[in-house]
Every structure is written in structure tokens, then in C-alpha cells.
């Protein structure tokens, strides 16, 4: 898998939810050719040196034939604000694909839970697509939690990709009322069969809860993590998080989100130190 720096043409850049979550469609054939679900690109949001660092975003859609990739992003600060102001026809400088991507579960996997919090859904959509094609016999359940119904991305993006969708909203405006971990607890208590494997992406606090639960029940899981990124290439060692991988470096190890991740087996992260 070769990394590319590519000046990608913006095919569209439009809100998909309310005013603050956007869908950016890019013509980036070199990157699209190599990209896998769970990987990400580093976007240079401005030609100037302020902001200085690129911003990382997961693939939301990969179309190898058309040479198109998409990212879905939430406007949270300076960089994403600048990105949201870009217009169709302009270009952005991309670096990718980066990171490891989601690994497939064993062939005989029967039940897969995909757990998405907030904008974390975007990284999981290509993952669901991959699972549908490559593990067609497994049952795929999507748990999808947000604060309020208006923050949900339209179900057209994922409904066809899974057998069941369990929504949760903090205010009860859609599906279960409460946070996603409570929703999971509720379904487990109701007698829902535990999954063979879980895939999770979302806010750190959610990941921590689910990791603890998965570890307690010995359910293997792949968790997509975030960290502040410098290079995205494994060069600056800036994206370290406390991890259990011992890669020659030391007793008290760190793993690096950009090259050992962003997707980690649940047991490889020291969640309590995060």
C-alpha cells in the first residue's frame, strides 16, 4: 500500500446533518485505489501555515472505480471551519491512505455488533459495507447513538448495510433514551445474544465504557481511536497513546494511532490511562 500526496478536486462539500456535519466528496484516484475501510487521510485545510498541522479524517466512502473518496466531518474548530468553507471545484491537498484499517473477523463469525457514537458512524459505514460483502453470513447489528435525533445522519447511508439498527439518543427523540452504553446494557439484559465481535468508533468516553464491557465479557473488539496527529506517517511519534504492545521500545509502551492504529484490538490499549 503506497501513500500518496494528492491535490484532490472537490466534487461536493455539503452539510448532511444540520449545519455542522458535512460530507466532502473528492476526486482522488491515487488514494482511492489504495484505500481500505478504517484508514484515514490527512487534509491540509489551508495553504498557509496557520493552522500548521493537517487534520485527520476517516474514509466514509471509497469508490475505487470512479476514483472517488468521501469523508464526513463535524465542524468543531478552526480547521474544520475552514474546510467547510471550501467550494466545489476547488482543490485540497490530501495525504493518504494512512493507518491500518479494520481487520475482518474469522470466517465463521455469526454476530457482529457495530457501535457508532456521533460522527464515528462515518468510519464504520465502509466497514459495514466490507463486512456485508466478505462476511455475508454474519448478522450485523448497528448500535448508533447521538445526543438528539437531529444529529443522526440519514439512514439511507447505512440502513441497507445491516440487519438491524438500534438507535439511542440522550433525549429520547429517536430510539432508546439514554447513552449508547445504556442502550447496549438494556438489550443485553433483555436477553439479546452477545456478539462474536464488536467494531466501535466514537467519543473516547463511549469507547472506554464499551472497552471495559467487552474486556469483561471477553468479546474481541476493534476500536477506532483518535489522537492529535503530527505527521500521520509514523515519523514524529506525536500520536502516541498508552498501549500494551511491546515493540522493542520499552517497558511502559505507547502505541501510535497513525501507524499501529487507528484501529486497535481492544486489549492493546491501556484504557484507564487514556
Amino acid at each position: 500500500m503506497k501513500k500518496h500526496q494528492e491535490e484532490a478536486v472537490i466534487l461536493d462539500n455539503i452539510p448532511i446533518i444540520g449545519q455542522d456535519t458535512y460530507r466532502l466528496i473528492l476526486q482522488a484516484p491515487m488514494i482511492a485505489r489504495e484505500a481500505r475501510p478504517g484508514q484515514f487521510v490527512m487534509v491540509r485545510v489551508d495553504k498557509s501555515y496557520d493552522p500548521f498541522l493537517r487534520r485527520p479524517f476517516s474514509f466514509f466512502r471509497i469508490d475505487k472505480e470512479e476514483g472517488i473518496i468521501e469523508i464526513g466531518y463535524k465542524v468543531v474548530g478552526r480547521g474544520t471551519t475552514l474546510l467547510s468553507q471550501k467550494k466545489r471545484g476547488q482543490t485540497v491537498d490530501l495525504l493518504g491512505p494512512l493507518g491500518n484499517g479494520f481487520r475482518l473477523p474469522p470466517e465463521d463469525t455469526s454476530d457482529i455488533w457495530v457501535i457508532a457514537g456521533g460522527v464515528g458512524i462515518t468510519a464504520l459505514i465502509p466497514c459495514l459495507e466490507d463486512l456485508r460483502i466478505k462476511r455475508p453470513k454474519a448478522k450485523r447489528v448497528l448500535f448508533y447513538g447521538v445526543k438528539t435525533a437531529s444529529e443522526l445522519i440519514p439512514s439511507s447511508f447505512f440502513k441497507s448495510l445491516c440487519h438491524e439498527v438500534l438507535y439511542s439518543t440522550d433525549d429520547g427523540t429517536m430510539g432508546f433514551r439514554g447513552v449508547i452504553t445504556e442502550c447496549i446494557d438494556y438489550h443485553v439484559q433483555k436477553g439479546e445474544k452477545l456478539p462474536s465481535v464488536i467494531y466501535a468508533c466514537g467519543p473516547l468516553i463511549m469507547l472506554k465504557h464499551i472497552a471495559r464491557w467487552a474486556l469483561a465479557h471477553s468479546i474481541p473488539g476493534q476500536f477506532c481511536l483518535e489522537s492529535i496527529m503530527g505527521c500521520g506517517l509514523g515519523a514524529c511519534l506525536g500520536c502516541a497513546v498508552p498501549g500494551n504492545i511491546r515493540h522493542g521500545n520499552s517497558e511502559k509502551g505507547y502505541v501510535h494511532v497513525c501507524f499501529e492504529g487507528p484501529v486497535f484490538p481492544v486489549e492493546n490499549i491501556r484504557w484507564d490511562e487514556l
Binding site: 498541522l53 492529535i228 506517517l233
Partner: protein
């Protein structure tokens, strides 16, 4: 004029051109191999290496600043043995000139790392990072003091036949004085500057933004400070000087050459633009062609200065 001669001689070493990458911003070279033709660079300076593996500092390790970043990576590295076994061979095989950045917690540790690297082909020089806490002396940084800085250089000099570059910290009263001390101690070349001690905090959580509280500022923001340091050091020593600090464009690099740096290292901008080093090299070539200068060494150090006084 068809082409220009970009090669530069820095005391005992000769580089095919004056553009290197700065330690810690370019990994072990391989990370950039898909994007940059490594063998075209003057040299690749690898991430700092110590005797034993080191885990580095707790996260967050990076925070963005105005036109730059603050890092507290904390010298994470796999140790010199793993480096020689797993990291170096790739660059050796590709014939990329390598400078190994080294550091230690004691004078002896510096010397030992140097001796282990002494017989490695392709390593054209060792770069001594003296911006490291001297554990024996209560954590004061080796480079903050002429005598400890000199002692490190002397010790390394004794255990290696490789040319030595000493990399200076800007956080001193007189960088010229430290430069003279390391010249005296036998350093073949001097490089400046390392990052500048800096800090960032979050006014809402009331916590530091770096796991280590303190970090080092780098990037375009520090360029005018670095340029002044290089200017001072060029005036103070007879050994060649390598300019580092905030270089992001060919124009920046040429500024350092103009004040007298024989070569430059491209650092943080590699994160923003991974092809920066090679683009800077191209830009220097084009500038010289445009200006009708056939030899980059004819441009180096040609700043016209009459006199200067107080600030």
C-alpha cells in the same frame, strides 16, 4: 547556464546539496519513502537514538501553535541496537547519506552510543543532541553550559572516528559561547537550533495541553530567532554551521545560507508538507539559476552587513 553545483563541503563531510531533514520530523527516512526520493537529499538526519530503548513522554505529545507546534515526544526510540538492526539497513541499502542524532543521560552514555555506531557504513556523521537533561547533574540540560557541552563532545570524539555535528539549544544566554566551547572540544560542525522551550494550557480544563507540561516550539514561528542564532554562531566559530528552525520554503533556506549556514535542515514543515525538503531543494536550484550563480557556495555567507548596535 544548464545547471548549478549544489554540493557543499562541511569540514570533513561533503554533501551533494545543502538540504537535509531535521531529527524527529522525518522518522527513520522510510516513513517518507513513498513521497520523497530519499537519495536526492543532502542527508537524512534520523530521530534521536539512545543506548537503551525509551518509551517517550505521556500523551498528548503535540499541540498546535500559531505557525508551528509544540512537541514533548520526549525522545522515544528503540535504542541503538534495534536501530542498527531494524532501521538503518533500509537507508544503507538505498545509499542515502545518514546522520544519526544521538543523546544520553550521562556523558558515558553519549560516548557509548557513538562507539556502537562507529563502524556503520552510510553514517556520514553523528549529530549530538545536547538539549537533554543531564541526569547526573540534577537534570540541567547538557547544552545549557559550556563546560558540560564541551565534555559531551570530547567524550564522543574519543569513541568515534565519524565527523561530529553538535546541535545547540537556543535557550542560553549566549549561543555563540556554547558554539565556541564545542568547537574547542573538537566538534567538526555545529547545528542550530533545537526547539525552544514552550508551553500551552487549556483555560477551561485548567490543565497543560501536553502530557509533559513543557515542550519545544518549532515551525515557521521560530524562524527569525533561529536565523539570529545562526548569524551569531557563524560569526563566533570557524567550523561550518548548519541552520535549522522554521524553514518551510526555499526562500527560508536561502536566508540561512545567506547569513552563513553551509547547509540547512528542514524540520516541522515535513508534517505539513511531506515533500517540503525536496521542493526546497528544487527552489534553491531555481533561485541560483535565476540569479546566475553557478555554485551554491558562492552564495553562502554573502550577507552585506555594515555594523549593528543595540536592539
Amino acid at each position: 547556464m544548464k545547471d548549478v553545483n549544489l554540493s557543499v563541503t562541511l569540514g570533513p563531510i561533503k554533501l551533494k546539496n545543502p538540504v537535509m531533514t531535521a531529527s524527529g520530523t522525518f522518522g527513520y527516512g522510510r516513513e517518507f519513502a513513498d513521497l520523497v526520493p530519499l537519495e536526492e537529499l543532502g542527508a537524512v538526519v534520523v530521530k534521536g537514538i539512545s543506548l537503551k530503548p525509551r518509551p517517550g513522554n505521556p500523551p498528548p505529545r503535540i499541540v498546535e501553535a500559531c505557525a508551528g507546534l509544540i512537541n514533548s515526544v520526549g525522545l522515544e526510540n528503540p535504542g541503538v541496537e534495534v536501530f542498527v538492526k531494524d532501521k538503518l539497513p533500509y537507508l544503507q541499502k538505498r545509499n542515502v547519506p545518514v546522520v544519526v542524532n544521538i543523546f544520553g543521560e550521562s556523558v558515558e552514555e553519549y560516548a557509548e552510543v557513538a562507539s556502537i555506531l562507529d563502524d556503520q557504513p552510510g553514517v556520514i556523521a553523528l549529530e549530538i543532541n545536547i538539549s537533554c537533561p543531564n541526569v547526573e547533574a540534577g537534570g540541567m540540560v547538557f547544552g545549557s553550559n559550556s563546560s558540560t557541552a564541551g565534555r559531551v563532545v570530547e567524550a564522543v570524539k574519543r569513541t568515534t572516528s565519524k565527523p561530529i555535528i553538535t546541535k545547540l539549544s537556543p535557550q542560553v544566554t549566549s549561543i555563540a559561547e556554547i558554539a565556541q566551547a564545542v568547537e574547542q572540544a573538537g566538534s567538526d560542525i555545529v547545528a542550530c537550533i533545537n526547539t525552544i522551550p514552550a508551553m500551552a494550557v487549556d483555560i477551561y480544563t485548567r490543565t497543560p495541553r501536553l502530557g509533559n507540561v513543557i515542550g519545544g516550539l518549532s515551525g515557521p514561528a521560530i524562524k527569525p530567532i533561529a536565523l539570529k542564532c545562526v548569524f551569531d554562531v557563524v560569526q563566533a566559530v570557524d567550523i561550518p554551521v548548519i541552520g535549522i528552525g522554521g524553514i518551510a520554503t526555499a526562500e527560508d533556506a536561502l536566508e540561512f545560507l545567506l547569513v552563513g549556514a553551509k547547509a540547512v535542515q528542514v524540520g516541522s514543515v515535513n508534517l505539513t508538507n511531506p515533500r517540503a525538503s525536496i521542493e526546497i531543494l528544487e527552489g534553491i536550484r531555481n533561485f541560483l539559476i535565476e540569479q546566475g550563480i553557478s555554485n551554491v557556495e558562492d552564495y553562502i555567507g554573502t550577507l552585506k552587513v555594515l555594523s549593528h548596535g543595540e536592539n
